[in-house]
């Protein structure tokens, strides 16, 4: 009935209306010229990523200068990428949760639980009888299951994300310890190990998985209704609700998604280390959140960037690599990491506040 209603052209606000519009337009234009220059570039998402790329290049330069022969080798680059892959996959999931206005502190613990569950004797025996995909499936299901619990508690139980996932952090790792009896479980399925440690045209499969997850994450965030809803739910949950979006259901899905990413990361880590352990992924949540935040995803939700998160992960991993090559302590790394986070967030806030005035 109201199929494509044609609205009569609204009367041109002769006088006040159009004048105001013109004045506003002029003011906006004036604003945009005033805001041009470097900070203006940094404000656009492409520009922010450019800033991160510059930071990454500078880090690489530092690596080349201080440890040239050891840093600038194909092997070392692949090592960096391999190390970045596990945190990277988790960061993609974290990007979604944070963009959707939440946080997940339990990613490291979920990864540990998945790694342990998929390497129990029972699982491995089943895998031996059938296929190593059983191990992968188990890890993914455990990860998604933990995410589901988080999501239900947060969306329908009304528990704030910080607390719900803090509880999951404690209990998932505890459960992992119980299952593994605090012993490191050895992966016997050589198929899985060989598959992930194989290389395709010189690139480790594990790195390819990271790349695929990132690409899928980018498409999901920028090209699908799911991504658009994530931004809406994180940016203004009330507006999202009143526009007919299932905010609660979507919130659950976001935590399932990050849980799934933890499952994938668990498989990658199990394959790389050939072990499942309740100590896997300790403090992974901090690395993931730090990478997402310096990548430019707004911690308050409503804006997220997958590319930024990937760059964030690469920056931190490269930093570690350069420090290690120069025989600098882990402690010194941590100090610099902290500084980078602070500088990145301060920069973001200054840009954001300028945008709002």
């Amino acid at each position: 009935m109201t199929d494509n209603p044609t609205i009569g052209t609204a009367p041109q606000g002769n006088g006040a209306g159009s004048d105001t519009a013109r004045v506003e337009q002029a003011a906006l234009e004036a604003g945009s010229t005033r805001r041009s220059g470097l900070p203006g570039i940094l404000r656009s998402s492409a520009g922010r990523n450019l800033g991160l790329v510059v930071a990454l290049v500078l880090l690489c330069l530092a690596g080349v200068i201080t440890a040239g022969d050891r840093f600038a080798t194909v092997d070392n680059m692949l090592t960096i990428l391999r190390l970045a892959s596990v945190v990277g996959v988790v960061s993609i999931g974290m990007t979604f949760v944070i963009t959707g206005g939440g946080i997940d502190l339990s990613v490291g613990a979920i990864l540990a639980l998945s790694s342990v569950w998929c390497t129990t004797l029972a699982t491995q025996r089943l895998a031996e009888d059938t296929h190593w995909m059983v191990i992968v499936t188990t890890a993914l299901l455990v990860g998604a299951g933990c995410g589901l619990v988080n999501g239900l508690l947060i969306a329908y139980g009304g528990v704030v994300p910080f607390i719900a996932t803090l509880a999951m952090l404690a209990s998932a790792r505890g459960l992992a310890e119980i299952i593994s009896n605090r012993r490191t479980q050895i992966l016997t399925a050589t198929g899985l190990r060989d598959f992930f440690n194989d290389e395709v045209v010189g690139v480790p499969v594990i790195v390819i998985v990271f790349f695929l997850v990132s690409a899928a994450g980018w498409v999901l965030l920028n090209r699908t209704t799911f991504g658009r809803r994530t931004i809406a739910v994180g940016g203004n949950p009330e507006a999202a609700r009143l526009a007919g979006i299932h905010v609660k259901r979507h919130t659950v899905l976001l935590y399932v998604l990050v849980g799934l990413c933890c499952g994938i990361a668990a498989v990658m880590l199990v394959a790389r280390t050939t072990t499942g352990s309740s100590t896997h992924g300790t403090l992974l949540e901090l690395d993931a959140i730090a990478a997402v935040v310096i990548g430019g995803t707004l911690l308050t939700g409503g804006r997220g960037t997958v590319v930024g998160s990937v760059l964030g992960v690469l920056i931190f991993t490269t930093l570690s690599n350069v420090f290690t090559l120069n025989n600098l302590s882990i402690s010194a790394q941590s100090v610099v990491k902290g500084l980078i986070i602070v500088v990145a967030v301060l920069l973001q806030q200054r840009l954001a506040s300028r945008k709002n005035t």
Binding site: T2, P5, G8, T9, E24, T224, I231, A232, N236
Partner: protein, 509 residues
Amino acid sequence: MAEATEHATQSGALLRMSGIVKEFPGALALAGVDLDVRAGEVHCLLGQNGAGKSTLIKVLSGVHQPDDGTIVWDGERTTLSSPAQALRRGMATIYQELDLVPELTVAENIFLGHELSTGGFSQRRETTRRTTDLMIRLGHPEIRPGRLVGGLSPAAQQVVSMARALSHDIRLLVLDEPSAVLDQEEVRNLFRVIRGLTAQGVAVVYISHRLEEIREIGDRLTVLKDGRTVATGLAVESTPTAELIRLMTGRSIEYVFPPRTGRPLGEPMLQVEDLALPGVFGDVSFTVRAGEILGLAGLVGAGRSEIIETVYGGRRAGSGTVRVAGRRLRRGSVTAAVNAGVGLCPEERKSQGLLLDEAVYRNITMASMDRFARAGFLDMAEERRRADELAEQLDVRPRRTTQAARTLSGGNQQKVLLARWLLRECRVLLLDEPTRGVDVGARTEIYALIRALADSGVAVVVVSSEVEEVLGLADRVLVVREGEVVHEAPAEELDESKVLDLVMEGRVA
């Protein structure tokens, strides 16, 4: 006491404001307001919603700084650059929305910001004693100093706010609709407290929509309209109600409302039966036909917004049914309403309607994303094209739909929300204060849009605190007062003073 009586009889103005102008981006909130308040009097401030009362008291309490005009306090010209400064001069304001900290106790709230302490340690006993004294003075000894404010009734919380004001050495107290949360007994107690204050020489500025209260407590009154003072210093006793209503409604700006096309109305599209939300409104029934605009008139807090939010499923109704095109909606589900073809443009555009940092076109397509998606993948070119089309149709400016919704003016933001539901091809459109914060020119456009929507067969419900808007725009009007529909009539049979009577007194005078 002798000194107090002297204060009370003194007739010189304690506060004299003249030519106060306050401009906000896109809106002139105060266009020249004069107000003089004497010590020991109750001075009532009257005016319709949007007349500038709230802005005026925010100037008075130091929240807003006026762009022009003078404030003379106790014979000296002064500026009020912050709430703290206003408080130091002896002016306290009690807002409609109480500004208490629910997690702190009564005593802690009262002495918040001026805690009694020696060397950094709070003097708990002295604080408790003074709080008890204040509560006795206010006639509420049962409110214990140690109670948490969050656990008190709204009325008791208001008493705590008053006590906080009185804990300072005040000479002027501004009360913004203090009776809104009170029952009759509590209102009487409030009046007793006010008389006690005026007897001590304190001046009270009292804002209320209820004429009977103004008659009971007021000494003199000032009427505001469209940001200007239309009458000041009138004696309450000798001013007839008809005169007050004439002062409040006489217009200086005429809005152009689109003509009613007089087309025959279609089928009943929205049927609301005995809808109730306990404690907020009860047993509301109405029907809106395709092509019809129904107006809900009433004061802020009368339950209008709550009624349409409940129809929309944003609040879960206690009882009653909502039908759209004959099909009953699931209670308390916005998604069910949206899927049935209902759209809502909420009262608070920025906090409830828009993603301010997202592009305009994304705000437009927010409720109809599925339309541009195959298996969840968005066809962004098509999305942009349709959104741009609508933006052009509705004359959203600036035309570039990739810029953030935040940068648009109020009127254009409203158009974005209208475009959102237009794109969704909704059958029932609920509009809450569609022209709040919208400048005069854009209003005319929005009125025309709403009428055009109705003419295309949409059933429209408009909530507005501006009586003129409801009467000019709607075909039929429901008057809501304190959660009840008190009157229903075709808009043509009503006029502004009649509706104001109904809104304020519940009957036609």
